[in-house]
């Protein structure tokens, strides 16, 4: 029953590593990783359907196929640690322990949503849980993360900041400028690069000569590693090490979690520009099927247990949709000027 990965895929995806839980990781913890990944999958699969049915609008980007990265990373964090996001933020919210109801309500543009209907998918934020917000400007999370680390350092909180970003983001000027400063001042920030090898329709290899992006770390004098981004344990282990280092005052690291975008850039993208036949075999690397396979194979969980988790997740998402669609309210125009300025001040 174990998933067989084609030779052709392994040849192309050289950072593949088989799943193996870190020494001493408890069953509940492993199940939690599975739960969070599956919750992201179910959430974003539903979001696509809702978008297609015109129930939600704007630009929504799916975190499907990247689940292991956010979940593995955030599992290495303490609740007060911070993360910065990208335009693809749903997975980051869930991985950081966010509330799918509030997120769904936001995507429906409802007042009860995380951002009171002002932000939507692309600006989803859960600041109380340390999720500093999705952003539509590629690269803009980089200095934000370094600034967050600067604050942690100067305020002596002992917290670290994770900076999620895509391979596309690595070619923004701020990427380089931010890492340079973080390195120069030993700030407690970990750059987690979600390398799906694509930026909408542009392949990384067509715009960067060196595609082994972790190697760039050397230029800034910080550690850089590459891990199997489809493997939640591999991501967790690498991030844990970097987090410990950062907490010890030893400065930033760059972790390249390499994977492949398996779906469209945004929910309605049919990817006509891409050879989907070449993508198809990579579904064997799907982090969730692999994790499920691992749990069963190693008798960590019984099929029944996993089924129950999956059922609960389906219900959790259904409830979230029902809540957002039927129990929440549209923001009134009286709320339009709220929160442009601090302390309720309104400047029209």
């Amino acid at each position: 029953m174990s998933i067989k990965i084609d030779k052709e895929v392994l040849e192309k995806f050289t950072c593949y590593t088989p799943l193996k839980a870190p020494e001493g990781m408890k069953k509940e913890e492993q199940m939690k990783l599975f739960y969070r990944m599956k919750l992201i999958r179910e959430f974003d699969t539903t979001v696509k359907d809702l978008w297609m049915e015109n129930k939600i609008y704007g630009l929504a980007h799916s975190y499907v196929a990247a689940e292991a990265i956010a979940v593995g990373t955030c599992f290495a964090l303490k609740p007060d640690d911070a993360i910065t996001s990208t335009h693809r933020g749903h997975g980051h919210v869930i991985a950081k322990g966010g509330d799918v109801k509030k997120m769904m309500a936001e995507l429906f543009g409802k007042y009860e949503g995380y951002n009171h209907g002002k932000g939507g998918s692309m600006h989803i934020a859960d600041v109380p849980h340390g999720m500093l917000g999705a952003t539509g400007i590629v690269g803009s999370g980089m200095p934000l993360a370094v600034g967050s680390a600067l604050a942690a350092d100067r305020l002596g909180t002992g917290n670290v900041t994770i900076c999620f970003h895509g391979d596309g983001g690595t070619n923004q000027g701020v990427w380089h400028e931010s890492i340079n400063m973080a390195a120069a001042w030993n700030l407690p920030v970990i750059f987690v690069l979600e390398n799906n090898q694509m930026a909408i329709g542009t392949e990384l290899k067509s715009v960067s000569k060196e595609v082994e992006l972790y190697k760039r770390a050397a230029g800034y004098g910080i550690p850089g590693v590459q891990v199997d981004g489809f493997n939640v344990f591999a991501v967790y282990k690498a991030v844990k090490k970097a987090v410990d280092r950062a907490r010890n005052g030893e400065g930033p690291s760059l972790i390249e979690a390499k994977f492949l975008r398996l779906l469209g850039h945004f929910v309605a993208d049919d990817q006509w520009y891409r050879d989907l036949k070449a993508v198809e075999p990579f579904w064997k690397l799907d982090p969730i099927s692999r994790m499920k396979d691992y749990l069963l194979e190693n008798k960590i969980a019984a099929a029944k247990e996993i089924e129950r988790v999956e059922k609960d997740i389906t219900k959790e998402i259904l409830d979230a949709v029902n809540y957002a669609a039927n129990e929440c309210t549209e923001p009134s125009v009286e709320t339009l000027y709220d929160n442009i300025y601090a302390d309720g001040e309104i400047i029209k």
């Binding site: 543009g109 209907g117 952003t135 923004q172 000027g173 930026a199 542009t202 067509s206 000027y337």
Partner: protein, 325 residues
């Protein structure tokens, strides 16, 4: 004549100009293989190859700056900023380099650069994908800024922009790409600095551009049923701006409404009203009325978004205000 979409007219402008001038190149995120998300540059890669149609990394400051360098040294680059909101990233290169080099260098350089920037709100794209920054660039000596709306004007003015030896910021309204209109097959140009009178009228002048001229026309048609006769001016070109046409119209109507989609504060409409007052305060029977978006970041919720963006009804209200007394 053929009816084609805005998307097709822009595509044709680039294609035809590239056919006769091999110094014209196109660069930006996803302009080549994907032909830009709106399909505006579709097919250019196939026809002209990857040396002239270039998918860039997400490096707006650098690829716009490269456009400046290439323009200085013999190419005619058309740089695309996918959503004009991110022109902020490229602004240093546009404002401090492209706009000023000719002047700073004593006239010894050319700068035939076009920056295409899809702009405008609608569709729930929220605060970083909906803005209209035309007036920022209107403020900068050395730039030209245009925002045509009809397929005919878009084609003709894009060709003018490519041939212009100055840096041109070319604003295309994102909601207009599917709109259709008559467009000649051959190459032609539409000059900058010349407004179009879309509708003649004697009661009030409506000054508009881009999507607002569509809404102004709708408002004018509806008010015509109430016996109000509006003259609708589509500026097409923001810098240079055709004040002659505007003042001639006001001389006839003695009332003016100036519209913009951008939020009102610090906007182009304010600049236009100030200039109208300077040039012909005495021509006005009532105070000029401005129409613009509300001064908020664009909210995601589409109910709120519709409330923020001015449309036909906002313009009708402004016209009635201008007609009071």
């Amino acid at each position: 004549m053929r009816n084609i979409t805005v998307r097709e007219s822009l595509n044709e402008a680039m294609r035809q100009e590239m056919e006769i001038d091999e110094t014209v190149i196109v660069m930006g995120c996803d302009v080549a293989i994907r032909g830009n998300p709106f399909g505006v540059t579709k097919g250019l890669l196939r026809q002209f190859g990857e040396k002239r149609v270039i998918d860039t990394p997400i490096s707006e400051a650098a690829f716009t700056g490269m456009g400046v360098g290439a323009a200085a040294m013999g190419l005619k680059p058309i740089v695309e900023i996918l959503y004009s909101d991110w022109i902020t990233l490229a602004s240093d290169q546009i404002v401090n380099m492209a706009a000023k080099m000719r002047y700073m260098f004593g006239g010894n350089i050319e700068m035939p650069l076009v920056v295409r920037a899809p702009f405008g709100a609608g569709g729930g794209n929220a605060a970083q994908h909906s803005q209209s920054f035309e007036n920022w660039f209107n403020h900068i000596p050395g730039l030209k800024v245009v925002a045509p709306i009809t397929p005919y004007d878009l084609k003709g003015m894009l060709i003018t922009a490519i041939r212009d030896k100055n840096p041109v910021i070319f604003f295309e309204h994102k909601r207009a790409y599917q709109m259709k209109g008559e467009v000649p097959e051959e190459l032609y140009t539409v000059p900058f600095g010349k407004a179009a009178i879309r509708r003649e009228g004697k009661d009030v002048t409506i000054v508009s551009y881009s999507m607002m001229s569509i809404h102004a026309m709708e408002a004018a048609e509806e008010l015509a049923e109430d016996g109000i006769d509006c003259e609708v001016i589509d500026l097409r070109s923001i810098l240079p701006m055709d004040y002659e046409t505007v003042m001639n119209s006001i001389e006839k109507t003695n009332r003016v409404v100036v519209t913009q989609e951008a939020n009102l504060r610090g906007g182009f409409a304010a600049d236009i009203v100030a200039e109208i007052i300077d040039r012909g305060f005495d021509l006005l029977d009532t105070a000029p009325v401005r129409v613009g978006g509300l001064n908020v970041p664009m909210p995601y919720n589409m109910g709120l978004e519709n409330y923020v963006i001015p449309g036909k009804e906002t313009i009708k209200k402004a016209i009635r205000k201008a007609l009071k007394d």
